[in-house]
Symmetry: D2
Subunit: 344 residues, 4 copies
């Protein structure tokens, strides 16, 4: 529930109400504004009603939060959230490009790819050190060694970094060596992991599960934010449908829907969303057009040699060409990007 | 199979080969070019091989058509097909807007809506006279009376027209009163209907079935073209998935994929593709960005009074605003649109 | 709405009410019973309310029909419907086996297969004369010649027959030569065809569309019954999902659900529902166990030579073995079958 | 790869080959038989080929394992695996019933439910102590306290027990207090968790993910077995499709398919597979009929008071009635059950 205080309410009034909410076992939220203070109270609606805030002399009115997700909803925070991934702001006016290989294979491979994608406009370097693989017999990633390579390459090239975390035991390492966590589609409802990253303030890119509804995706984000970490970015990376011509079905409806309902930034992954190299470009443009805040794209110095997801990785040339083609679409969507690139 | 003749081959050589193909019970295609003639032969590959064209002295080489669809494939015709819907060219450089109400309700309703959408840039008027309804107890459309209203409004306002055909018995009426057939999602594999429209030269907008794969959609188009009507436009209108926040999942991957594989124009329907008024705009922009040749959008002079699909229809103001927002995206995609609008 | 008359109501009272319903433009249903008469009124609920039957002196009470489907619902007819396919009753206590090849290929092929499946317990012979094929270049069936073969074989072997109808123009031929229509998955929402078979009294097996919800399936059945033909059997034949190990996902939940909500007989098709020969047996047993009234199974005298669906057809031996294995499951489900077989 | 040794091969020959496999970095499997010894070698096929076992004098022949899953495949172990969940054998001739409430709510609730389900034939008690909930604001389970209640009730009533594990940190507690782990649908590809339970010998019921393919499910089982725990049971609990009349679509095709391809026991969950109380019975019977080794069913002493999944829980009476109805189907499937019940 949202509790809007009267303009005459003092800080002491607000603190008294917040204390009452907490004492009743609910989650209090303090949102002081210029004209008036807004307070949130999350939890069992029946307990909320028993507190009778509607009769409180300093309460102007109460507004229920209708969606199941609360903290991630625009009903509570109407304005766009901007999250700092290292030095890269994600959300708001800026359009962000994250790029890099599927897996970190070696220092040389990551360095070369990083230099290439940075030259074309990417500011965040992606790459997997821990790889969730369907078969136990597939390459599982370089592990901590990969994280260290990523940190070194990030510093040398001047890029922020993001990598997937699969195991709570790797939390400290991933937080130490990279700028942001990625939670993969298979772990979207791994609540142990969601709560663990929720206990940090490290940015999190939360990928949609293969058959997760939009509501489930936003509730998974709610887990992280409710635990205490507001720095969540949502990632649409394609859902599983009956169609087999493409690896997944990129659900851009979901991007437009989430941008309307939630204040969190949304990133589109046209690489996994299509699984087909030649479709990455058109769908990257469509992602920009439907209102996404950024893209995460797989690029490899030599796609044919990629140990995983070779069919969807862009070469340096293809990536460079796509970035140039994106500029008019980013401008059409009212975002800044080329300027940032020019200045860099 | 594609048979490329040598530059020295004469028209008589081509005719002889075409006759051999026909005699063997296969479908011959004649594609004379500036430098050399190309011949197509469609049908049982074993019979084709038994004709031994690889040994023919005037044949340069043979190329198999790998996809199951042949005539609609870029393997046979690499260049974009442009189809004339009345005076509106669809495909190629031009970007086309089709708009109008879900159902034709009355002369006044259609006239007012047509004037509004034309003023904002639409050139083709849509509206249903025969409505496929899930329940036998729902409004089934005005029938032939609706067709006559559509013809009259089209003439008065100066727009081309398109409407759904569900029954072979209505073929003559729909062809007489409107500029193009629409085949709805439920009838995408109604082969009787596909063959019937295939026997005309009237343009056909073929909508993707709710759970049709891209291959099945292109094979349905192949039915029409193979029967004799090359004037087919493909329409992506959303597929059925597990997601319930939106009415359907607009599969823009399919648009990018079809534009790569087929020479036919592709139209995106963001109204049925989302089923949510506020999402029509973002997804219309995404449709432009991923390479579509046009959009078909539901607009109603008073969406609240619409007898069907009220939740997804745009008001005249919303439609006008969207059309203005689309212009920079259409320009970014290298298409002409504003110019045509300015000139009209 | 259901109108239950008082025990004192006369036939004249009933006729007066039926006339009122009809005059108001609604569909009247007359269901005289032993103790009291029940009348149905289908159509716009607002018109119904304006008739004020709740104030009628001979009306005991009114009961709304909550489901969107009316005539096919147990809310209106609570008892199981039994439909006569030639001499074979479908529904009720009897368990029915329909079997035969995917396509009618020749007199000899159909005769031999019919003799085999009849010897194992099937009473209805299936086989396609008109084949809906995804590609225009695939075998499209023998047409009317196939129908004549089916009639002849049915008479010689002593079996009732069923075949798919795709085109309204074939209606008279299919009705003349066979015992029942089959409407295929692709045509489940071909309303022209539904209405056409609805104007006959010939039995109809209505197959579920690949991505049709249960509600849409029952509403398609409602189209046929509302047009005037009560002899509808529902067929679950697998739906389209993300799973690719099987051709379709046989949705037996739907069978249990429909048996609860509708009085129409339900037939399970484990051949199309799995697409894998070795899975037909287990799923046939599961179909019996979940409450189906019968099975329709593809069998071919020589599956390897089958012109279509070869991977799912059972040989005569496999079919015979399966029928024997089914007997204890049919008995466990409280149906009669072995008795009928013994007597034949 | 499977390496079949000649009858003349000695134990020393086998050990030498196993050593070679291990030295090359592959996983060796020793399967001594009565007539001859079979050896498995899992890992990179190229390395395997470089070992040239086809030239070894004591090797009769080599057989590749075609499926991606190896250890769980019947290609390697053709016979049914039987797993002991406490004193309850799962798999083989016996048919097993697991039953209990969705969540452990209190000692009294679990005790009463356990007594009821045991009296009707269940031998394994289910109930959640750690609940994976879509919303962070829903009841999350009693935790370790719930585990202790389960242990106490299991001892008092004389039942084996199973409960879900979500967090590697709870592994020791869950193993100590219960007879088997359950891994829920959301965690089917939580590889950290799969490997952790793989390092124990405690039985594991692995539930299929909402949109996991059969191959992915078997590969998830392979993770556990390859890590070292062969005691894996597979659970089909419904997949996510477009259908909304039921909570999930119970995919019994998958049960029949897995029974054919894998030697692991398969359990069907008709409660989650339908989400509708009245459909649990028909689908339980169908589960028996298609070849499952057991059922897991939600039952609650008072379904209306259940804190979660109330719509699908059976009352004691409904559960008792279902168990009696199941007996003839279990007998028809050639399994023993009633005998065991009589003896207990």
């Amino acid at each position: 529930m949202i509790i809007i205080l009267k303009p005459t309410a003092t800080e002491a009034d607000a603190q008294e109400i917040l204390a009452q909410i907490e004492k009743a076992g609910l989650k209090p939220l303090h949102m002081p504004g210029v004209e008036r203070t807004v307070i949130g109270a999350l939890g069992d609606e029946r307990i909320l009603q028993s507190l009778h805030f509607d009769n409180h002399p300093q309460v102007e009115h109460l507004k229920p939060v209708l969606s199941k997700y609360k903290l991630v909803s625009r009903e509570i925070y109407p304005h766009d959230t901007v999250i700092d991934v290292g030095n890269t702001p994600v959300g708001g006016d800026q359009f962000t490009i994250m790029a890099g290989p599927c897996a970190i294979e070696s220092y040389e491979q990551l360095l070369e790819t990083a230099q290439q994608v940075k030259a074309s406009g990417a500011t965040v370097l992606r790459g997997g050190a821990f790889k969730p693989r369907t078969s136990p017999y597939s390459f599982q990633g370089l592990g901590v060694e990969g994280l260290k390579i990523m940190e070194q390459v990030g510093k040398e090239v001047g890029m922020d970094t993001i990598t997937e975390i699969m195991d709570v035991n790797d939390l400290d390492d991933v937080a130490r060596y990279t700028s942001a966590f990625q939670i993969g589609a298979r772990n979207m409802q791994n609540y142990t992991l969601l709560k663990a990253v929720g206990e940090t303030k490290h940015p999190v890119l939360l990928k949609r599960g293969l058959s997760a509804t939009i509501e489930e995706l936003l509730l998974a984000a709610e887990y992280i934010v409710a635990t205490g970490n507001p720095n969540v970015m949502i990632c649409e990376r394609g859902i599983r449908t009956f169609e087999t011509a493409t690896r997944n079905t990129l659900d851009l409806n979901a991007v437009a829907f989430i941008k309307e309902k939630s204040h969190l930034p949304v990133i589109v992954d046209p690489s996994h969303g299509t699984g087909v190299r030649t479709l990455v470009g058109p769908m990257a443009k469509a992602g920009v057009a439907c209102g996404a805040d950024g893209l995460i794209i797989e690029s490899h110095r030599n796609p044919r040699e990629s140990v995983s997801d070779a069919a969807q990785a862009l070469s340096a040339d293809d990536f460079s060409q796509l970035m140039q083609q994106l500029v008019p679409f980013i401008k059409a969507s009212g975002r800044t990007y080329q300027e940032a690139l020019d200045a860099s």
